[in-house]
């Protein structure tokens, strides 16, 4: 369709180059130079000293992604089997907490999980605890799961609405039990949703610094915390921070190429 003028997009091109492309090159430039602007690989090699933090980030984000998938799969299926007008209401109930600022929601978990907070009080009634839940890696995973599980539900729901109920019934008629129907019919047919959901949960989870700082205390640093400290924190060093960001970007790219290798229909269910 050539009815408009190409020139209409030129302001955006300038914008895109200035504020999307150039900043990324600056990150690469800073990562490869020292404070005086001389070429060096020291920033990148110095990251190996933070190997445990990177490993922890990857591990916690991975655990959170798996838990999100396990929680979200039945919810997505349930939503997709409802009548259409009910689907809208239920979907809105899933989305509603996301409309609240995530800092506020995470802050509420700080209160809930504290040593003399409501969760421990409840456990106390049945003779358990009190447990130290706040400032543990478990709390960080919980925060990730809580904040990002809707990102898993939405794409799963979108791809599951396309599964015809008669396919499920046919599988059952032909003698498949629940497990078999799940493994042979439902899971294969929701692969596009699963792979989109994994990216949409894993990417923010691996790069967060707010959740780890609020729920993990000082002892559960993640990549995000490291980067934040290099840019705005105590260990101000833009070059090392850029190198870390570069590594994080590579991790995210690897993750996305991994999940998109499962389906060509990427970015489904976004927005």
């Amino acid at each position: 369709m050539k009815i408009y003028d190409k020139k209409l997009a030129y302001p955006y091109f300038v914008w895109m180059v200035l504020f999307t492309v150039v900043p990324l090159f600056i990150v690469v430039y800073y990562a490869m130079t020292d404070a005086e602007g001389n070429f060096t690989l020291n920033n990148l090699t110095s990251i190996s000293g933070y190997g445990s933090v990177f490993a922890r980030s990857l591990l916690l984000a991975l655990i959170a992604t798996v838990i999100c998938l396990i929680i979200a799969f039945p919810v997505g299926y349930f939503l997709s089997r409802l009548r259409v007008n009910k689907q809208h209401i239920m979907l809105m109930l899933v989305m509603l907490p996301m409309w609240m600022n995530f800092l506020l929601r995470t802050y509420a978990w700080m209160g809930l999980l504290s040593v003399n907070g409501p969760v421990n009080t409840l456990l106390g009634f049945i003779g358990l605890g009190p447990y130290t839940m706040l400032n543990t890696s478990g709390a960080v995973v919980l925060g990730m799961v809580y904040n990002y599980v809707p990102y898993m539900i939405l794409p799963l729901y979108t791809s599951m609405t396309k599964i015809d109920q008669s396919l499920v019934e046919a599988a059952q008629d032909l003698g498949a039990n629940t497990t078999k129907t799940l493994v042979r019919v439902l899971i294969p047919m929701s692969v596009p949703g699963i792979s989109t959901g994994i990216t949409m949960v894993f990417v923010p989870a691996v790069s967060t610094f707010v959740i780890s700082r609020m729920l993990g205390g000082g002892s559960n640093l993640l990549i995000g915390d490291l980067i934040e400290m290099q840019f705005l924190g105590n260990s101000y060093n833009l070059n090392v921070g850029s190198a870390m960001s570069l590594v994080l970007m590579i991790i995210v790219l690897l993750c996305m190429s991994f999940t998109s290798s499962f389906d060509e229909d990427e970015m489904e269910g976004v927005s």
């Binding site: 369709m1 009815i3 408009y4 003028d5 190409k6 020139k7 209409l8 997009a9 302001p11 955006y12 091109f13 914008w15 895109m16 504020f19 999307t20 492309v21 900043p23 990324l24 600056i26 990150v27 039945p74 349930f78 007008n85 809208h88 209401i89 809105m92 907490p97 409309w99 609240m100 600022n101 800092l103 506020l104 929601r105 802050y107 700080m110 209160g111 809930l112 504290s114 003399n116 409501p118 421990n120 009080t121 809580y146 599980v149 990216t199 990417v203 790069s207 707010v210 609020m214 980067i227 840019f231 833009l238 850029s242 960001s245 994080l248 970007m249 995210v252 970015m267 976004v270 927005s271």
Partner: protein, 281 residues
């Protein structure tokens, strides 16, 4: 018998799931009315946190900054993005693919990367500007905040408006030209009304993203505080029920907006159904 069992389990599971999702919100609402600052015991009902919230000058100012940045950035992003979509639609397939892929970068990149990469750009600019006499060298604050918000909003406008342009029937535009419109008139009378719902929804998406954004603002705000940043600095101190009061107000506002818009939607839906039935009869 077995399906009944399964259905019950499904119900229980969904209820448990929603309990999990709404537990923090319920907790905040209850404890925003609590007398004492503790987090486990409810010691009495009070409105004092709401009162102190509304006299908290830094929160009110931050709210104002948030609204200002959101409205301005949403307007600019919508105009820029809509013009870009129109231009992109008339490009060759190859260059369209390239532009679309670059536009995806801010959407798929972790927010922290978008945030720090823009911050580095502004830092580099400030170093450069400090040497020249006429460039303003202290831009960290509202200008950078605005640029950052536009930068992460424009892609959403493009990805909202472009599909709508693709669906557009070119024949309508040609018919308008045949009937004597010049291209400008044809655009404003035929194309713009067709894509305006997409433009409006893009604008609303920009508003909500901008009001809600913390990560990208955090690195590019200088000393200016938006509401999420004010909330963040409040959470760094010890527990204050004022935050709970703020959350409660936000929740009530959001809930009522959603309920009203849903009621309007279902009313127009029913109206449509009714006219359909009447036409059929």
């Amino acid at each position: 018998m077995k399906t009944k069992h399964l259905r019950l389990m499904q119900r229980v599971y969904i209820i448990l799931f929603f309990c999990f999702m709404y537990l923090p919100i319920a907790y905040m609402i209850v404890f925003s009315f609590n007398q004492s600052k503790g987090y486990s015991l409810f010691t009495g009902f009070t409105f004092k946190w709401y009162r102190s919230l509304f006299t908290n000058a830094s929160i009110l100012h931050a709210l104002w900054v948030s609204v200002e940045v959101a409205v301005l950035s949403a307007i600019i992003a919508t105009v820029l993005g809509t013009a870009a979509s129109l231009g992109i639609a008339s490009m060759s397939r190859k260059s369209r693919l390239l532009v679309t892929n670059i536009t995806y970068i801010p959407v798929v990149n972790p927010e922290i990367i978008t945030g720090i990469s823009l911050m580095l750009l502004f830092v580099a600019y400030q170093r450069f500007a400090a040497q020249s006499a006429w460039l303003p060298d202290n831009i960290m604050g509202l200008p950078t905040l605005l640029i950052a918000h536009i930068a992460f909003n424009v892609p959403y406008v493009i990805f909202n408006v472009s599909p709508k342009l693709k669906q557009l029937d070119i024949k309508l535009y040609e018919a308008a030209l045949d009937l004597g419109c010049d291209p400008r008139q044809a655009f404003f009378k035929v194309i713009l009304p067709e894509i305006s719902p997409a433009i409006l929804s893009a604008f609303l998406i920009c508003l909500t993203y901008s009001i809600d954004d913390f990560m990208i603002s955090y690195f590019n705000c200088g000393t200016v505080e938006t509401l999420p940043i004010a909330i963040y600095s409040m959470t760094r101190k010890k527990v204050s029920p004022e935050i709970y009061a703020l959350s409660t107000i936000m929740f009530v506002v959001i809930l009522s907006v959603i309920l009203v818009s849903n009621a309007m939607e279902s009313r127009s839906y029913r109206k449509d159904q009714k006219t359909l039935r009447e036409e059929g009869a």
